[in-house]
């Protein structure tokens, strides 16, 4: 089955967000990573076979314009709360990948009864008790993406051996916006573990077994802070699980989404 994907611009908090949608079923919102997202992914198609999949492009991360005033990850979370209100999806399920997991977690803390279900995959946002979140500022765009992979051969398959200038510019825009919202402290909110204690949503915490970007100890803190959380691990995956193991990742999520 071929999924038809369409894009539109949705206003939220005075800015415009490019939103891509495809599939049918109960809605799930996917929040992408700090490196942006390719337009099409097998992982998105797998979810869209069962759900209406909604993928907003974060403000400032390339497709969506950069609002000058967005200076914290929580600002993005508030923009998205407004956005899903406009879309009539207050009680949607949120699937957050890496940095997008941090945004999803912040959104859940704002409206602890509204988020239907929460999937956090290698989520940033919490200071790991052991190790640190890998600092992209010290490596090139290409090195950063490769650090996120268990099998670097996946890089060439998705981005090509020599990524285009357009891709480099996109990664640079994403990185600049990441710095604007999460430079210091780098990629976490010290209050988040406490704020998460009120979140009622059933949560699935997913980690690649070779995630070198966000230490698994951060996943343990998420699990301990969220009252209704379960954890699972995807084998042979780094941080970028949806690029490396799209099927296994989708198969881990779909039963969770279907459950009561």
């Amino acid at each position: 089955m071929t999924i038809q994907w369409t894009s539109s611009v949705v206003p939220a908090c005075g800015t415009d967000v490019v939103v891509t949608r495809g599939g049918a079923g109960s809605p799930v919102i996917i929040l992408h990573r700090d490196i942006g997202t390719p337009e099409h992914l097998a992982f998105y198609d797998a979810l869209a076979a069962k759900h209406e999949v909604i993928i907003p492009n974060h403000p400032g991360f390339g497709a969506s314009i950069r609002p000058d005033w967005v200076r914290a990850t929580r600002d993005l979370a508030v923009v998205y709360r407004a956005l899903i209100g406009t879309l009539g999806l207050q009680s949607a399920t949120l699937i957050g990948l890496g940095f997008g997991g941090w945004i999803a977690a912040e959104m859940a803390t704002f409206a602890p009864h509204d988020t239907k279900k929460l999937v956090l995959a290698g989520a940033m946002g919490i200071k790991p008790p052991e190790g640190d979140i890998f600092d992209q500022a010290l490596v090139s765009y290409i090195e950063y993406v490769k650090e996120g992979l268990h099998d670097v051969a996946v890089f060439d398959r998705i981005y090509g051996a020599r990524p285009s200038s357009e891709q480099l510019v996109l990664w640079d825009l994403c990185r600049e916006m990441s710095f604007r919202v999460a430079w210091k402290p780098y990629m976490f909110n010290a209050a988040l573990p406490e704020l998460l204690r009120g979140v009622q949503a059933k949560t699935l915490i997913v980690w690649g077994d070779d995630d070198r970007i966000v230490p698994t100890s951060a996943g343990a803190v998420y699990a301990a802070s969220l009252p209704n959380a379960t954890r699972t691990t995807i084998a042979n995956a780094g941080h970028l699980i949806e690029l490396e193991q799209p099927d296994a990742f989708a198969q881990a999520i779909l039963p969770f989404l279907a459950s009561a």
Binding site: A137, L138, V139, S140, Y141, I142, R162, P163, S165, L168, V169, W171, D172, L173, R175, E176, M177, F179, R180, W183, K184
Partner: protein, 413 residues
């Protein structure tokens, strides 16, 4: 003409083989390789040389700062400026400059600079810079807000110097309940502000709009001319015509008793480039948000290792000598080359980057002596012939804002 002496303060005793092994000599090169015993000796040699430069007749000492790298030991320009304020008598102390975005409290900077100006009896020139890319990483200053922080810190410092306190400052990046420093500059309305740079168009235009002299850092004659064209156009837009007093130029210049000796020592100007390809990872030089959005495509290709540095194209020693970006020789030879630069680019300020790398201390002192005693007197004659006046000689207003305010006051009277 204002003629000053400069050195990067190289940590010449660092183990080059360690740099060769890891492939870079900055930011992440472990400071286990830093030898404080050598550091102590070198800092004191630099101090002796600055004092000697004053004795030999230079007009100014130019100071800068960098972080986490053996190519520059000076981690805080204000410390050497403070020392020289007390140790020298006549020379201008020219900071090029304090990297404003790296500092979290501009009022403290305003205080420090005011103290240096008073202690030196009004000899401070207070340049400001954005700081290099890797400096943002070394000090954890957000590169995405580099220009905002530069602008706001500048505005706050100038206000702290010129508007009586107490006042409050609630900005984007800096917040002060009470701005009321009990240390104010001796020079009125405030010390001169000079802005050094290489290629950043925004900074050239900003300096011109503010009426601050721009110091071109060792650019080729052709590029220097482009800088002045851009500067002059921006100045014309805000209603004034710049002259040599708006133009500064830094040149690597080593002088010795013989040409052979000078050229041999001058190779030290490339002391680190010669060791391996690239002293730092491109991504450290150009963190996202730091460079101009208008040249994003050029920079991302550099960062990804797909193109050469847009700011510092690599050239051989011979090419740089041929292009007059390195001038080395006997005093007569050096004067001849420098006159060409003066005729072609008409600066009112020149800085001589006299010593670098592993040049010996006696060679460094000889170069300073010949620069001060033989080269500079000849250049002053040339400056008279070409009518190249420094900001001091031209009695240039410290800024356009100040000149406009003065004009408004006079009109009101």
């Amino acid at each position: 003409m204002h003629l000053m002496y400069f050195t990067e303060q190289p940590m010449k005793d660092y183990p080059a083989d360690a740099g060769l092994e890891i492939g870079f000599t900055s930011l992440l090169m472990s400071n286990k390789h830093f030898d404080p015993v050598a550091g102590s000796r070198l800092y004191n040699e630099f101090l002796e040389n600055y004092v000697y430069a004053e004795e030999m007749g230079v007009d100014g000492i130019m100071l800068n700062e960098h972080h986490n790298a053996p190519f520059c030991m000076q981690a805080k320009a204000n410390i050497f400026a403070s020392l020289l304020a007390g140790m020298t008598k006549r020379v201008k102390i020219v900071l090029l400059g304090n990297p404003l975005p790296l500092n979290d409290n501009p009022v403290r900077l305003a205080e420090e600079l005011a103290m240096i100006d008073m202690i030196s009896k009004g000899r401070l020139v207070s340049g400001f810079v954005r700081g290099g890319g890797q400096e943002q990483l070394a000090t954890n200053a957000n590169p995405a807000y580099n220009r905002e922080r530069f602008q706001e810190a500048h505005d706050l410092i100038v206000k702290a110097w010129t508007v009586p306190g107490p006042f409050r400052w609630e900005g984007k990046h800096f917040h002060q309940r009470v701005v009321n420093p009990w240390a104010l500059p001796l020079q009125q309305p405030h010390p001169r502000i000079w802005i050094p740079g290489v290629i950043s168009h925004e900074t050239i235009v900003w300096a011109a709009q503010n009426g601050y002299p721009y110091i071109a850092l060792n650019t080729s004659i052709e590029d220097t001319k482009k800088i002045w064209a851009r500067y002059d156009a921006a100045a014309a837009e805000v209603g004034y015509t710049p002259g040599p007093e708006n133009r500064g130029y830094l040149i690597r210049c080593h002088v010795a008793e013989t040409e052979e000796k000078a050229l041999e020592s001058a190779r030290q100007f490339l002391w680190m480039d010669g060791e391996f390809t690239g002293r730092l990872k491109p991504v450290w030089a150009s963190p996202s948000g730091y460079f101009s959005p208008s040249s994003r495509q050029t920079f991302v290709e550099f960062v990804a290792g797909q193109s050469a540095s847009p700011s510092r194209p690599r050239k051989t020693f011979e090419q740089q000598v041929a292009d007059l970006q390195i001038v080395a020789g006997t005093p007569e030879q050096v004067v001849k080359s420098l006159r060409t630069i003066m005729r072609e680019t008409r600066p009112g300020i020149m800085a001589f980057w006299g010593n670098e790398g592993r040049m010996s201390q006696p060679d460094a002192r000889t170069s300073i002596r010949l620069l001060g005693q033989e080269v500079m007197p000849a250049l002053r004659e040339t400056a008279k012939e070409l009518d190249l006046k420094s900001p001091f000689e031209a009695d240039m207003p410290v800024s356009r804002a100040w000149a406009n305010a003065q004009a408004a006051r006079q009109a009101a009277e």
